[in-house]
């Protein structure tokens, strides 16, 4: 039997045992149905009918007897409690022994009926009184009573047990009273039999009373869903037996009983149902039979509790009026005397006493329950108060927390507004500062002048300026104000104005300009601030640069593969009055260039914290080759290679270069670099073919060997495709720029994209391997850079945040050896 079905109070379903249950039930119905049909149709003689009915009365119960004793065949029954048995010991003992005792009761009946049949059918006479048949029949009652008593039951409180006991006594008293008056008393008063026969005769109605007691016990049991099917079957079976016994006793008393009526089916069906009920007891889930209510299923438990309190309790009172009627009846017909009437009076008196006792007990129990309810109510009330208080505390805390959050949010909003205001001021300051810087570098014949300025996030004080002076002279200024933010920007603006005013006002000598500017600035600059400044005046007619320095970082002059410092003594502006500034002059030769810069360049740090530094800058200026790069581009590429992609610029960076071009030294070099093409290719898929063809057209006059040309075309196409895809993200508005330069001994194709992140180093990328790719160890892609490297003689990649440049170099001589 499954737990679920047991809880639902239905007969077992599913499983092998459930199927056995239903097979047995079907067999019982079929057997008794045939018996009823036989009794009603009465085929054959009366003797045949009696024989068949007598035999059926023991054969039927005998057939279902294994349902009671099946458990005995299992080894674990003899070992004791199974592993699944839980709960009180009485419960598990009852579960083992109750079916056995009920089975013994049925077996007793079978044996008694067999003897009875032997007398009636074989000996053709009624059995004597007493006989062995009576032994069997009377043995039924103690076995059944014990079996019912031992049925597993849920523990109940003492008060409930007492009440149930009194209810049982009331019913029993009523039953005995009726039995005494109508059956037991008359039997005892018959004078024709022996005392033993009288006792035996009286024992049958008493047995009936025992069975009624069994029914009462079953009815008053506390609700147990697991055993409900078993209890119902047992009750039905016992009821049929009681009815059959009572009728038999009544008709026998009046000598009107004859075998072969429907009465006989009552025993057969009754005992078979008892056997089926016993089987249901065996199948009931162990442990849960007594604890189902405690383990859950609360609604059903509540319902069961209500049943126990209402109809079983009323059952005891139902018989009280009946006994009252019997009292009146006995009074009238016995004229108030005689043993029969006396027995009824005693039964009535006892019943009245039990009713009173029951009422007293009910009052006491009600009072106890009321007190318990009051206590529970007070506890609930107390808990409710506590919960209310906790809720209040919680609400208070929530309100406080909400207020705190509101205040924090308001503060945060205020801070955000303040930050936004400051940011706005800084943006304005930066804008003002940048508007003060030259929009472009001046174009001066024979000179290449470039400037680069990149402000840090916080407004700094870097500045540079170009001053057009008299006689074609050009003033170059690079400066840096101490401090940052708006004060630095204001000081920078002031210094720029003063320098412009002084330099363009008359004296052009740099030392004098700085000295005069210092005198003007000193009173206006806060005491904790100063301005470093390098000021040079270029005379293009003599290629001379006269300069003075107010404490600024020394410019470098790229000359003969070296970087010379342009030194000149002088204190920063605004520190103290009356300062003089050393003035020096240098003549620039063709190919030489001067780098002016601010400390933002040399103080930049790489991810490991190493500073870019003066030595590195000086070395780079010295090794710079103007043929390949402008000094500006070269230094910026080096800087951005030095710092990481996530570099947070700490200070403004200012670079200014002044390069002398033309002249005897540079002329041959410049003549070797001939621009063959300047292309701008929209970044759209497939346009690499256009780049390839344009470059091929540009170099067509060079007479390149076919192999060299094809290799160059492939390299250009691949590099352009990379630039469009990775650099410009295929943005059609951002073109790829291609420069085709013919140098003295090589052809240089420069492919420039927008960049954004450091370009891949040709040596850093993993060399593609076809076998690895086929085996899935490498991604299928990755051929582009590899092809480019193999198609040209030299591949150079450089970049900064503004752009990436890929340079493809093809040697013009010795092509046969190349590649």
């Amino acid at each position: 039997m499954k737990v679920g079905t047991a809880r639902n109070g239905r007969p077992p379903q599913d499983s092998a045992e459930a199927r056995a249950f239903w097979r047995a039930a079907a067999m019982i119905v079929l057997f008794n149905g045939l018996l009823i049909a036989w009794v009603l149709l009465k085929p054959g003689s009366d003797r045949m009918l009696a024989a068949v009915v007598n035999a059926a009365e023991f054969v039927g119960p005998l057939l279902v007897l294994p349902l009671c004793f099946g458990g005995l065949l299992r080894r674990r029954w003899w070992r004791g409690v199974s592993q699944t048995d839980v709960g009180p010991a009485a419960v598990t003992i009852g579960r083992r022994w109750a079916p056995v005792l009920l089975g013994m009761g049925i077996l007793s009946w079978v044996l008694g009926q067999m003897v009875f049949t032997y007398y009636e059918w074989v000996l053709r006479q009624p059995p004597p009184l007493p006989s062995l048949a009576d032994v069997g029949f009377l043995s039924v009652y103690p076995f059944l009573l014990l079996g019912i008593l031992l049925l597993p039951a849920r523990p109940v409180p003492v008060e409930s047990r007492t009440r149930i006991a009194i209810d049982g006594l009331m019913i029993m008293t009523a039953a005995v009273t009726f039995s005494w008056y109508f059956v037991l008393g008359p039997i005892m008063q018959q004078g024709t039999e022996t005392t033993l026969a009288k006792a035996v005769s009286a024992a049958y109605p008493l047995g009936g009373i025992v069975l009624i007691a069994c029914l009462v016990i079953l009815a008053l049991r506390p609700g147990e869903h697991a055993l409900l099917p078993a209890v119902r079957l047992l009750a039905l079976g016992l009821t049929l037996i009681v009815v059959a016994d009572s009728n038999f006793a009544y008709w026998s008393l009046h000598d009107a009983y004859a075998t072969g009526t429907l009465l006989d089916v009552g025993w057969s069906l009754g005992y078979m149902l008892v056997a089926l009920g016993t089987f249901a007891v065996r199948l009931a889930p162990t442990g849960e039979a007594t604890t189902a209510d405690e383990q859950g299923d609360v609604p059903r438990a509540a319902s069961s509790l209500a049943e126990q309190r209402v109809w079983p309790s009323l059952l005891a009172y139902v018989l009280v009026p009946a006994v009252g009627v019997l009292l009146v009846y006995a009074w009238r017909h016995s004229a108030g005397s005689g043993s029969l009437a006396l027995g009824v009076y005693l039964g009535g008196a006892l019943l009245i006493g039990l009713v009173l006792l029951r009422q007293v007990l009910t009052i006491v129990e009600n009072a106890r329950l009321y007190n318990q309810q009051q206590r529970t109510y007070r506890e609930v009330e107390q808990k409710e108060k506590e919960v209310r208080q906790l809720n209040k505390d919680l609400e208070k805390r929530v309100a406080e927390r909400t207020e705190q959050l509101k205040a924090a949010m308001a503060k945060q909003q205020q801070e955000a507004q303040e930050r936004e205001r400051i940011e706005q001021e800084l943006r304005v300051a930066r804008l003002i500062q940048q508007t003060l810087l030259p929009k472009s570098a001046p174009e001066l014949s024979g000179y290449q002048i470039a400037a680069y300025y990149r402000p840090a996030r916080e407004v700094g004080g870097d500045f540079y300026d170009f001053l057009e002076l008299e006689d074609g002279l050009l003033g170059l200024v690079v400066g840096d104000t101490s401090g940052k933010g708006i004060p630095a920007a204001m000081v920078m603006a002031n210094t720029r104005s003063v320098l412009r005013a002084v330099a363009q006002g008359g004296d052009v000598a740099p030392g004098q300009v700085l000295a005069q500017a210092n005198e003007i600035l000193y009173p206006d600059i806060p005491s904790n601030m100063f301005v470093t400044c390098f000021y040079g005046v270029l005379d293009p007619s003599s290629d001379s640069l006269t300069y003075a320095n107010a404490g600024h970082d020394l410019p470098y002059l790229h000359r003969n593969g070296n970087a010379e410092e342009l030194r000149a003594r002088g204190m920063p502006l605004g520190l103290m009055p009356g300062m003089s500034y050393e003035e020096k002059k240098v003549v620039l030769n063709a190919g030489e260039s001067v780098l002016f810069y601010s400390d933002g360049l040399v103080e930049a740090h790489d991810p490991e914290g190493e500073m870019f530094g003066f030595p590195r800058l000086r070395a780079l200026v010295a090794e710079h080759d103007e043929e390949e790069h402008s000094l500006m581009d070269f230094l910026l590429e080096e800087l951005y290679s030095f710092v990481a992609e996530s570099w947070e610029q700490e200070d403004d960076i200012t670079l200014m270069t002044l390069g002398k071009i033309g002249g005897t030294v540079t002329a041959p070099r410049n003549r070797t670099r001939r621009t063959l093409a300047e292309l701008s290719i929209p970044s759209e898929p497939g346009n690499e073919r256009q780049a390839m063809q344009e470059v091929a057209r540009a170099v067509s006059g060079l007479g390149l060997p076919e192999r060299t040309l094809e290799r160059l075309k492939t390299a250009v196409a691949e590099a352009t495709m990379n630039a469009m895809e990775h650099g410009n993200r295929y943005d059609p508005d951002v073109p790829v720029k291609i420069q085709v330069w013919l140098l003295e001994e090589s052809l240089l194709v420069r492919i420039i994209d927008r960049g954004g992140s450091p370009p891949p180093s040709p040596n850093a990328t993993e060399e593609p391997d076809l076998e690895d790719k086929l085996e899935g160890r490498q991604t299928p892609r990755g051929w582009g850079l590899f092809l480019i490297k193999n198609m040209v003689d030299e591949l150079r990649v450089s970049g900064n945040p503004d752009h990436h440049t890929v340079e493809l170099v093809t040697y013009l001589k010795g092509d046969d050896d190349a590649g």
Binding site: N687, R707, L770, N790
Partner: protein, 118 residues
């Protein structure tokens, strides 16, 4: 410059199945190339011969696609042969080591002969 998309057709010849390719083998050629190769594979030939005679441009994306064909051929234990490649692309096949896995022949006849021999 408008790109010349790849056109591909399949021929069954004695000795192998020939895949005639015309146009450019670049990133746009994937669909046409894979479809033609699938058609060539349909009869489960022992060898598939790629005819590059009509191909005038192969870029790195095209190399990837040819590599994919090679992977498919290896997976189905099929030989891949090629002919009609210009000297430049023969060099690229050498550089990328495609020629280690794809036998290259000067013309169709020699490619078919080789395919039928094995």
């Amino acid at each position: 410059m408008p790109a010349k998309h790849l056109e591909a057709s399949v021929r069954r010849e004695w000795g192998g199945t020939v895949l005639d390719l015309r146009g450019e083998i670049n990133g746009f050629a994937q669909e046409a190339l894979n479809a033609a190769y699938a058609e060539a594979e349909a009869t489960d030939p022992e060898a598939i011969i790629l005819n590059f005679g009509g191909v005038d441009y192969i870029d790195s994306a095209g190399i990837v696609l040819i590599g994919n064909l090679l992977a498919k051929a290896r997976a189905s234990k099929r030989r891949l042969l090629a002919y009609g490649l210009s000297n430049h692309y023969v060099e690229i096949f050498d550089i990328t080591r495609l020629s280690d896995f794809v036998s290259i022949f000067p013309d169709e006849q020699s490619a078919l002969s080789e395919a039928s021999v094995s």
